[in-house]
Symmetry: C2
Subunit: 355 residues, 2 copies
C-alpha cells in the first residue's frame, strides 16, 4: 500500500488538468473543500479560495496551481515503491496534495489560513488564475505572508528575480548582394552586440542572505529579405533576469545602457514584456519561525514565479514544495515520498504552532 499522501498525489495526477482544461479538477477541489467545515469556500472561474476565519493574529496564504503542461506520454499515475511517476508529480500535484491534506487535517490552526488553488499558471502571464483572483477578489487574498507549493525539494526559495524582454531592431540599407557596398548589412551589425551580451559580467547581489544571479540572454533572432539582398533590418530579442534590489525601471535602464553603444539613429528598442521581481522578505516573524523551527535551507529564486503577485501587494512570499524542479515539464516527471512528507511536516508544524 502506498502512503496516503503519495496515493492522494497519484489520484490528483489521474484527474487531467492541462492548462485551460482545469474545470474537472477545480470541481473536485471545490467539493472536497466545501466538505471541510472550518473553511469558507469561494470559486472564481476555475480558481478556488478556501479560508479559515478564526480571528488569529496572523494569516498565512498557501497557494498552488491546478494545471499541468501538456501530456507527454505520462498522463497516468504510476507508483513504484516510494516513487510516484506521472504528469504533474513534481509540478505540482504533490504540493496540491500537501495543501489539501493540511486543510483536512489541521482543523484548528494557530494561524488563520487561506488556501488558494488557481488555474493557468503554465501558460502566458495574461491568463494566470492568480492574477485573475488578485484582479477580482483581492481582499480574499490578503495575508501576512504567503507560501507557494512549487517544487523546491523542500528548500525555501525566497523572492524571485524579475524578467523582461527587449526587442532590438538594427537597421541597414538594402542593396544587391553582388554590390553590398551600396548598402549596409543589418545582420552583420548584430555581431558586436552579440559579443557584448556574451561577455557581460553580471551582478550577484545578496539580499536577506539570499544571493541572486542576474543574466542576459538573446532568445530570438531574425532578419533577412531575400537570398540576394543585403538585409536592412535584423531583430534580436533579449531576456534579462534581474535581482529584486532593482525596480523594473532601473533594470530597463540598465539593459538600454548595455545596448546603447551598438545603436544608431533609426534603430528601434522596444520593451516587450516586464514581470517585476519579488524581494525575499524573510524577516516576517511567521517566515522566520517557519524557517528557524524546521532548520530549512534558504536560497534565492532565480526564475520568476507567482510569488511576485503577492510581493506586489506587500505580502512576503516564498516557494516551498516537494519535488525536483529539474524534473518539471519532463516526460519522466516523478516525486519521492520523503520530500513530500518532509514538506508536509514543516507546514503542519507552522499551522499548528504559529509564530
Amino acid at each position: 500500500m502506498a502512503h496516503p499522501l503519495l496515493q492522494l498525489t497519484a489520484d490528483l495526477i489521474d484527474i487531467p488538468s492541462v492548462s485551460f482544461e482545469e474545470g474537472p479538477i477545480a470541481d473536485w477541489f471545490e467539493a472536497e473543500l466545501r466538505s471541510i467545515e472550518a473553511l469558507d469556500v469561494i470559486r472564481v472561474g476555475d480558481n478556488i479560495v478556501a479560508r479559515t476565519d478564526l480571528g488569529r493574529p496572523h494569516r498565512l496564504a498557501i497557494g498552488g496551481h491546478l494545471d499541468t503542461v501538456p501530456v507527454n506520454d505520462n498522463a497516468t499515475a504510476r507508483i513504484e515503491g516510494d516513487t510516484l511517476h506521472g504528469l504533474g508529480a513534481a509540478d505540482m500535484k504533490g504540493g496540491l496534495a500537501v495543501m489539501l491534506a493540511l486543510a483536512r487535517t489541521v482543523a484548528d490552526p494557530a494561524i488563520d489560513v487561506t488556501y488558494v488553488f488557481y488555474a493557468r499558471e503554465e501558460v502566458s502571464l495574461e491568463h494566470n488564475g492568480l492574477r485573475e483572483l488578485f484582479d477580482s477578489v483581492p481582499d480574499l487574498l490578503q495575508a501576512d505572508a504567503a507560501i507557494l507549493g512549487e517544487p523546491t525539494d523542500g528548500v525555501v526559495e525566497a523572492g524571485c528575480q524579475g524578467t523582461m524582454r527587449i526587442a532590438v531592431t538594427l537597421k541597414g540599407a538594402r542593396a544587391h548582394t553582388a554590390r553590398p557596398w551600396m548598402g549596409r548589412n543589418a545582420i552583420h551589425r548584430l555581431g558586436n552586440l552579440l559579443d557584448a551580451l556574451e561577455t557581460i559580467e553580471h551582478r550577484t547581489p545578496t539580499i536577506d542572505s539570499c544571493t541572486y544571479r542576474e543574466a542576459m540572454q538573446a532568445v530570438w533572432v531574425e532578419g533577412g529579405v531575400a537570398g540576394n539582398v543585403v538585409p536592412d533590418a535584423a531583430t534580436l530579442t533579449v531576456n534579462h533576469r534581474f535581482a529584486p534590489d532593482r525596480t523594473p525601471a532601473e533594470a530597463e535602464a540598465y539593459v538600454r545602457g548595455i545596448l546603447a553603444p551598438y545603436l544608431e539613429p533609426g534603430d528601434e528598442v522596444e520593451l516587450t514584456d516586464m514581470s517585476p521581481p519579488a524581494r525575499p522578505d524573510l524577516r516576517h516573524p511567521m517566515m522566520a519561525a517557519f524557517i528557524g523551527r524546521n532548520d530549512l535551507e534558504v536560497r534565492a529564486k532565480l526564475g520568476w514565479t507567482d510569488v511576485a503577485f503577492f510581493s506586489e501587494q506587500g505580502i512576503p512570499a516564498v516557494n516551498f514544495g516537494p519535488g525536483d524542479a529539474l524534473l518539471a515539464h519532463t516526460r519522466d516527471e516523478k516525486l519521492e515520498l520523503e520530500p513530500l512528507l518532509r514538506t508536509y511536516a514543516a507546514l503542519e508544524a507552522l499551522l499548528r504552532t504559529g509564530v
Copy 2:
C-alpha cells in the same frame, strides 16, 4: 511620331508577359519570326529559337527573356518625347525590340545568327527557359559566342560572378534563461562569425582586363526556442559572390575555410545553392571585332546572369543591351531612345560585317 524602334518597344510592353504568363508574347514572336523567310523557327514551350543557316564560318547567339517582373502600376507603355515608360522598358523589352529589328532588317548577315527568346528569367533558376532549352535542344543553341540583351546601357558586361549560398547552423544547449550557465547560447555564438564576415578583405581579381569584386554577405538569420529558453540552434545563411577565376568547388572550399574557425563539433554547414561563374572570354575574334569596332566600354559583371548557361557550354557570352539596370524592377522603369539606337547600331554592324 515616335522612332519606330521606340514604338516597337512600346508595343512589346503592351503585351503583358509577367513570368509564367509568357504564352501571348511567345505566340506573337513566333508569328513574327515565322514571317521572316531566312529563319528556321523552333518553339519549345514558351521559348523560341530562330536561326539563319547560311553556312557562315561563325555563328552568334543573341538572346533575351520574354518575361517581366510583376506589374507595379506601370503595365501600359507611355512615350514622352524620346523616353518610353512602362514595365519592362529597361528589362528587357528594349533588348527584345533590338533583336526583332535585327532579324527583320539584316536578311543576309555576314555571320550566322541564332535568336533566342525565352521564358521565366525573373523567377528562380529552376524555371529558367534558357535552361529548359539547353536541356531539351542543346544543339540548336551552339554558337561561337553569345550576347544577351540585358540592360547594360550599351556597355559590354563581360562574364559574370558565381553565386552560392551556404547555411550555417551553430548549436548550443537549451537551459532556462534564469540559469543560462546550465546551457550554451547558440545565438550568442553568431557574434564572432558575423564580426568575421564584416571584416573580410575580399579579392578583386582582374581577368581579361575586367576587374571583379567578390563579396560575402549574411542574407538570413534565425534562431530561438521560447522567450525563456537559452536557444540551442541559430542558422545564418551566407551569400558569396565569387569571381570567374575560381571554380564552384574552389569557392565553396574558400567559404568553408572562412567559417571553420567558428565551428564546433555538431554544427552544420550546408551548401543550399550554387550558380557557377562565367569567364569574360573576350578574346574570341567575333567579340574582339565587336568591341573594337564600336569602341565599346567593357566592365566586369558582378551579379550572376544567364550568360553562365552559355559559358558552361564553352560559349563565350556577354551582356549588352539598352536600358539602365538600376531602373529594372522599379515602378519608374523607362528607356531612352539614344542607347536603344546605339545598341542596335553596334549589333547591326556586327551582323553585317562579321569578324
